[in-house]
């Protein structure tokens, strides 16, 4: 460390910290700006009938009801498919997995699954669910695709939540003749629940905001009614935003912003929900 005079060292510290502060403020401000801007510009066109009416005139008028419902179905489908498997796999990795090559391979697979681009999941869904399994471009194919994408997250969060449960509980339970599964089922899982829920909610939030994969495996620009079965095509909020923003000329600005607002509100409210679950659990444990 080169020692400069005290004054200039103080000065360089001041400058440096000012730069760091500006960077932080900038990021926070941009984030808040985006939220506020979308809220302000979108609020104008947002009303009850916008939320409850189907779109007309290729999205230039009417509402977004089918897209809302479609996104809701997608979140539900993703949750129902990815959560149970994520919890089971998380239990295996935290409670059963021996330290061997197979466990290492599983963990490596999870890390890599988390990094696979969403568009590649889309190609996977197209090849496997749409074509090979012949589900067609459908809600089911899209849910399965998004569930595959969510798997890495639900497994990881479940595993971490389970690993965070103190070892003493496991020993205490086994030492009075509970079986391993009983210990997990009645002692460990309940303790890990908040962490698991946090992961599940985040996974749902992601599924709600994802557009690249569903654009490939089944989201439709406009469908007249709501999907009646898992094999129907569907509308989804993010895809709807994409089309009104880039594919359809002459959509009123307000309408676009309102779609963005609804999408952002859905996604962020689930994010906030996850944070609340996490914080509440932390407070309880203390």
């Amino acid at each position: 460390m080169r020692m400069k005079s005290g004054l200039s060292r103080q000065l360089s510290q001041r400058t440096a910290f000012a730069v760091l502060l500006v960077a932080t403020i900038a990021v926070v401000m941009v984030t808040l700006f985006i939220i506020v801007r979308i809220a302000v510009s979108g609020a104008g066109a947002l009303n009850w009938s916008f939320l409850t009416q189907p779109p007309t005139d290729a999205g230039r008028a009417g509402g977004i009801f089918p897209a809302l419902v479609g996104t809701f179905y997608l979140m539900l489908g993703t949750l129902m498919l990815a959560l149970p498997i994520g919890v089971l796999a998380g239990i295996y990795l935290s409670e059963y997995a021996p330290r061997n090559w197979l466990t290492r391979v599983i963990n490596l697979a999870i890390i890599n699954l988390a990094g696979v681009p969403s568009i590649v999941y889309g190609l996977f869904g197209l090849g496997v669910f749409v074509l090979m399994m012949k589900f067609g471009m459908s809600l089911l194919a899209a849910s399965l695709t998004l569930a595959c994408q969510a798997l890495a997250m639900t497994i990881t969060t479940s595993r971490e939540a389970l690993l965070a449960v103190p070892r003493e509980y496991r020993e205490g339970s086994l030492a009075i003749g509970a079986t391993k599964w009983q210990t997990i089922r009645h002692l460990i899982l309940p303790q890990a629940r908040p962490g698991i829920i946090t992961g599940a909610v985040l996974a749902m939030s992601r599924a709600a905001g994802e557009s690249a994969p569903i654009l490939i495996v089944g989201a439709a620009f406009i469908v007249p009614g709501l999907p009646q079965s898992p094999f129907d095509r569907f509308m989804a909020l993010p895809y709807h935003l994409y089309t009104v923003a880039t594919q359809v000329p002459g959509v009123p600005g307000d309408t676009k912003w309102a779609v963005a607002l609804v999408l952002l509100a859905v996604v962020l409210s689930f994010n906030v929900l996850a944070t609340i679950v996490r914080l509440r659990a932390r407070r309880q444990r203390v």
Binding site: G172, I176, T179, Q182
Partner: protein, 271 residues
């Protein structure tokens, strides 16, 4: 161990008083040998204390009796450990059933994150009891046995974490009692407690020894001298493997130890 010798052991007259018998027991953590060739009889309905300096393998030895070491990857046991003449490391033994009969209390009180009632009811529930009335009876009986009933009878629905350390430890004992074991293993049950709570637990052990076989690991010489009937002294050899130096009635071991090393230890010359 041949079938013939097992049978002949069974007919030996002193068997009625020996609850657990270990013979030539060694334990390895991977390549590291933690215990060497320990042979010890643990009498029924009495308190056996295991003493020795830190790291000599007391906990390791204790955890052999309910096969808690099975949970540690790479741990390996050699020799014979018999509970009432049955080799508990035999292939046909059910570890879960074994642990119902041989319960364990740990050094740090480890109540479960649930109510006092549910803590005690945890074992019985897992073993098929679901009748609320029966459970309530079992819980009350166990808490009374653990000398905790009067202190907690009004807070059965409160979190177990709200109890004091000593109460928590007695709760853990009640939790073990609730599954009606035959043997209770205690690994330094008082090391996290103050003297008053410690005395309470010792009184409790005395009472329990009328109907249970108790094996306790302790660092505290006075505690061993006060509370146990039989004492076993473990020590590390230079290669850090624990061996049994001496074992006998507590009064004798503390007043006239046969081995020089025992004498050095109990008089506080090392350890």
């Amino acid at each position: 161990m041949t079938a013939a010798s097992t049978v002949s052991r069974d007919r030996m007259p002193e068997h009625s008083t020996t609850k657990i018998r270990t013979e030539g027991v060694s334990l390895y953590y991977g390549a590291f040998q933690a215990l060497r060739n320990i042979t010890l009889d643990i009498p029924e309905r009495a308190i056996t204390a295991i003493i020795g300096p830190s790291g000599c393998g007391k906990s390791t030895f204790l955890r052999i009796f309910n096969r808690m070491n099975d949970l540690i990857p790479g741990a390996r046991v050699e020799g014979t450990i018999q509970l009432e003449g049955i080799d508990i490391y035999d292939r046909c033994i059910d570890v879960v059933e074994l642990r119902k009969r041989v319960g364990m209390v740990f050094q740090k009180p480890n109540p479960f994150p649930m109510s006092v009632f549910e803590n005690v009811a945890f074992g019985p529930r897992r073993h098929g009891g679901n009748n609320r009335g029966e459970l309530a009876d079992i819980v009350e009986k166990s808490l009374r046995q653990a000398a905790l009933w009067d202190e907690v009878k009004d807070k059965l629905d409160k979190s177990a974490f709200d109890l004091s350390g000593g109460q928590q430890q007695r709760l853990c004992i009640a939790r073990v009692l609730a599954v009606e074991p035959q043997v209770i293993l205690m690994d330094e049950p008082c090391s996290a407690l103050d003297p008053v709570a410690t005395l309470k637990i010792e009184d409790l052990m005395r009472q329990l020894s009328n109907s249970y076989t108790i094996v306790i690991v302790t660092h505290n010489m006075q505690q061993a001298a006060r509370a146990s009937d039989i004492s076993a002294f473990l020590l590390m050899e230079p290669d850090r493997a624990g061996v049994l130096v001496e074992c006998g009635p507590t009064s004798q071991l503390f007043t006239s130890p046969k081995d020089k090393r025992t004498e050095d230890y109990i008089t506080g010359r090392f350890g």
